[in-house]
Structure formats: C-alpha cells, structure tokens
C-alpha cells in the first residue's frame, strides 16, 4: 500500500540518514517502555517516534522547569501507543501526530507546573477496513496553563475512526486557557466518531471546543472539475489540503514531505479500491 518512495524514506529514517542534528532524537523499533527527561531550561529538543511495527509501546516524557520539546508521533502500522507527558513550570510541549493505519494512540498531558503550555496538532487518515482510535487527555493541574489542540481526520472506504478528547481543569486553578478542535471528513462508507469532553472544576477558565464531521464541499469539487480536474483528483487535492493545514508548524520540514507522500499513497490505494 505504501509507495516505494515512502518505504525508502522510512529506511532512511531508521538508519539515521535523515538530517541529524545534535538536538534531534530519533526512535524506531520502539521498546515497550521508554522514559525521556528534558532538563531544566533545555528548549531545543526534538523527538521523532516512528511506530511502524505492530506492538505496544509506552513513552513517558518529563519536561523540567522551562524545558521545551517538539514531539513527532508517526504511526504507520497497527501499533498501540501510550504517550504521557509530565510538564513542570513554564515548560512547553508541542505534539505533531500523524496516524495513517489502524492503531490506538493514547496521549495524556499533565500540566503540573504554573504556566506550562501544550499544543497538539495532528491528523489521522484511514482507508480500506482500517480502524483507528485516538484518545487525548489534557489535564490542567496548575494555574496559568494553556493548551490548544487541532486534530483533523479523514475516513475513506469502509474504515472507522474515533477521536476522544478530554480537557480537564482542576479545582483552585486560575487563568487556564484551553481550546480543542476536532474536524473530520467522512467519505464513502467510512464512520468517524468525534467525542470532545470537558471537565472543568474551576471558574477562572477560558475554554473552547468544537467538533465536526462532514463531507467534502460539493461546490469546491464542482469548481475544480470546471477547470478540467477529475472528480477523483479534486477529491484527493481537497483531502491533502485539509490535512496539510495540521503540518504548517513542523520544525522538521522533511517529516512534512514524508507525511504528504504517505497521504498520497493512502489516497491512491483508496482510488484503486474504488475502481
């Protein structure tokens, strides 16, 4: 299903041939448990986790005071992943999630220290008979903490997907700012279930959430076809555009290119099934 080009790059990734910088950590063939600690005021770390084998992995990341990390989760196989992030005061985490196979991802972010910040941007795309699920829980346990989530999903063929997002705000916290957005497109006979959930036990909280499951715009498809683009190609371009929006903040551009190839491969595969 995956294109040759993509497989070749995965090999490159594994063998560490992707531009390696001192601050960039790359993990594949994941062990069942992994603990990472980012020291105080260390703000340059980037971690790439590649889940391309069917197994269970649990990752714990500890961000000490003022530490920052970009965390890339790339899931291309039916793996089960549990990622727990523990954030101390003024630490910053940014998760980039890409899930393109059956699989389970559970992410729990604990904003333990004052002023801790978390952002999660990601996408999932399912085709054929795949079944994927993403659970994301963000726990605001301290004051002045912020979080922002954007997850976009596309389901094709007979696949099914589920997104469950929880924003939890502890009592006695102040000035918490949390937003969560889940936007999805269900095509063909695909099913997407999006369940946002808020549990807020404090008053001084700014919190927004939104959840949609829709179709591709008929108007946009018609417009593209009037310029000579086939329905299939127009559909693929709209899906790629929709998902690409979740990658605009990537600090490792190579990974964005890889995701684009991966999405392209999924779309072509789905086209073949349709025909």
């Amino acid at each position: 299903m995956l294109t040759q080009e993509y497989i070749a790059t995965l090999r490159k990734l594994r063998s560490g041939k992707l531009p390696q910088k001192g601050n960039q950590l790359f993990f594949s063939r994941m062990p069942s448990t992994l603990n990472l600690q980012v020291e105080r005021l260390d703000t340059l770390r980037k971690a790439i986790f590649l889940f391309d084998e069917s197994r269970f992995s649990s990752v714990d990341i500890y961000l000490e005071q003022g530490a920052a990390m970009d965390i890339y989760l790339i899931q291309t196989s039916s793996s089960a992943v549990s990622l727990n992030i523990h954030q101390q005061q003024d630490s910053v985490s940014h998760i980039f999630l890409s899930q393109s196979a059956s699989g389970k991802t559970n992410i729990e972010v604990e904003l333990l220290g004052l002023g801790a910040q978390h952002t999660c941007e990601g996408f999932f795309i399912t085709s054929g008979e795949e079944n994927s699920s993403i659970n994301l829980a963000v726990k605001h346990l301290s004051s002045d903490t912020t979080s922002s989530t954007l997850i976009r999903g596309v389901g094709m063929d007979h696949s099914s997907a589920r997104f469950h997002g929880l924003v939890y705000v502890n009592k006695n916290t102040k000035h918490v700012d949390a937003s969560q957005l889940s936007q999805n497109i269900a095509l063909d006979d695909a099913r997407i279930l999006s369940e946002p959930q808020l549990e807020i036990y404090a008053d001084d909280v700014k919190c927004s959430h939104g959840s949609t499951v829709g179709k591709l715009s008929e108007q946009a498809l018609g417009y593209m076809r009037q310029r000579g683009i086939s329905l299939q190609k127009a559909r693929n371009m709209l899906i790629e555009g929709f998902l690409k929006d979740t990658m605009k903040n990537y600090s490792i551009p190579e990974l964005m290119e890889q995701n684009e190839i991966l999405i392209g491969g999924k779309l072509n595969f789905s086209d073949d099934v349709q025909r």
């Binding site: 715009s217 108007q219 946009a220 018609g222 417009y223 593209m224 076809r225 009037q226 310029r227 000579g228 683009i229 086939s230 329905l231 190609k233 371009m237 709209l238 790629e240 555009g241 929709f242 998902l243 690409k244 929006d245």
Partner: protein, 250 residues
C-alpha cells in the same frame, strides 16, 4: 464553434430554459442580458455541465461534437471555461497547485507535452502580469480571503492559463468597483482573439464599454426574445427591459 438548438433545462422539476437557440462562431463576442431570474446563469451552468440541472430536450454542439453527454471536466478540457459569478474558496489548495493540475489536464487533452516545473512557473508569472494579478496570490489558497475584485481577477488569471476556446463569463462585473471592473475587463479583452469566442453574461452595459460584443441577446423567461448589436445594450441601459417584455407578452 457553439450551436445551441432548442435547449430546455430544468432544476428540481422546474423548467428554467425553454427553448434556447444560439449560434456562436469563432472569434465572436456575445453578450447575454436580461432581468433577474430569466435563466442567464442557468444557461452558463448547463453549458459548463453542472449536474444540478437536467437537460430535458434540445442539443448543444461544440466544435461539431455533441456536448450534453460529456462530464463537466471533459467539457473543460475541450476548452470550455466558466468564469464564476461567485468564485469558490478552496482551503488548503494553492492557486499554483490548482492551476498545475488544471493545465496538465488541458494540455493532455490537446495532445501537448506536459510543461516542466520552470516552464510552468514562467507561464504563471507571465499570465499573472497580463491580467494584473499580484503574484503573491499564486502561492495562496485558491480564493481564500481574497477580496471580491481579487477573486474575479483570479478567474481571469485561470482563463489566461487555460487558454479556452469558449469562455463563458457569468456576471464577472458583479460586485466590482469601477477600477476593478476596468482591470478585469481589460484582462478579458487582452485574452480575446480571432481563434476563441466569449459569452459575457451581464446586467450592466458598462462592462460592454470594454468588451465590445458582436451580438447582444436578451433572455427572458428562458428564451431569447431579442437579438441585436451593441446598440441594443445602450438602449436597454436607457430604457430598461419593459418595452421588450411588453412586446413579448403580447
């Protein structure tokens, strides 16, 4: 180039076009005018192949070939271009990528080799300048956040890229201020030549000051009730449609 014979079309069982006859030759500009709801935009949509409309009878020949069985994208590749009254926003798809896909299809249909990346870039810049579109819009998502004038300029830019045989401009002047109108109309005029034809659908004579029509048709209740030259548009501007409609209803 285009021959329309007794064309009837309806939407949701309601007949909108009730027997249109029209012959457009290569190199000609035809203006279609008429009061609101007379079927102007429906005619444009039906010619382009919009599937929301059902053609109930009649025939349309384009370059001698029957058009009505062809899908919307097949007609586009043959060289039919519709300039939309309300251009659609396409989030996540850049103008450049959009045109790359469209131009590739058009060239393939014409039996031409695909353009190289650098040839394509050069073509885009050249056409953007021709229609006074700021090149910064090329990398932006199609029409997203564009002003009304920029959207219409972008339509003309796409027309320039695709070099259609027949352009149907559906109220390209609507929502434009005088300056934007001049720029858009000048762009259309630059693109017109002996080898292509243009249908201009408009409410106002002022667009026709720039794009001078060979024929002016008045559409009313789904039929062409009057055909004349550019003088007819001037008379309509002064006197409205009432005199024509009275004649027709008699």
């Amino acid at each position: 180039m285009l021959l329309i014979k007794d064309l009837h079309a309806s939407v949701d069982g309601k007949e909108i076009l009730r027997g249109i006859n029209l012959h457009i030759r290569r190199g000609e500009v035809h203006a279609i005018m008429g009061p609101n709801g007379s079927g102007k935009s429906t005619l444009a949509s039906v010619l382009a192949g919009d599937e929301r409309f059902q053609v109930t009878s009649g025939e349309v020949l384009f370059e001698g070939e029957s058009l009505l069985q062809k899908k919307i994208e097949e007609r586009a590749r043959k060289g039919i271009f519709l300039g939309f009254q309300y251009p659609v926003e396409i989030p996540g798809v850049s103008n450049a990528n959009f045109m790359k896909a469209a131009v590739a299809e058009r060239r393939r249909a014409m039996g031409l080799e695909p353009l190289s990346a650098s040839e394509f870039l050069k073509l885009m810049k050249q056409k953007a300048i021709l229609v006074s579109l700021d090149p910064k819009f090329l990398s932006r998502a199609v029409n997203e956040g564009f002003s009304g004038g920029e959207k219409k300029k972008n339509e003309i830019f796409q027309m320039a890229m695709l070099e259609p045989e027949l352009s149907i401009l559906d109220e390209t002047d609507s929502g434009l201020d005088i300056d934007a109108l001049r720029i858009v109309a000048t762009g259309v005029t630059k693109l017109h030549n002996e080898q292509n034809s243009t249908i201009v659908i408009t409410h106002y004579q002022r667009l026709l000051d720039y794009i001078v029509p060979d024929f002016v048709h008045v559409l009313y209740k789904g039929r062409i009730i009057k055909t004349g030259d550019k003088e007819l548009a001037l008379k309509l501007e002064k006197e409205g449609y009432d005199w024509l409609i009275k004649d027709f209803e008699k």
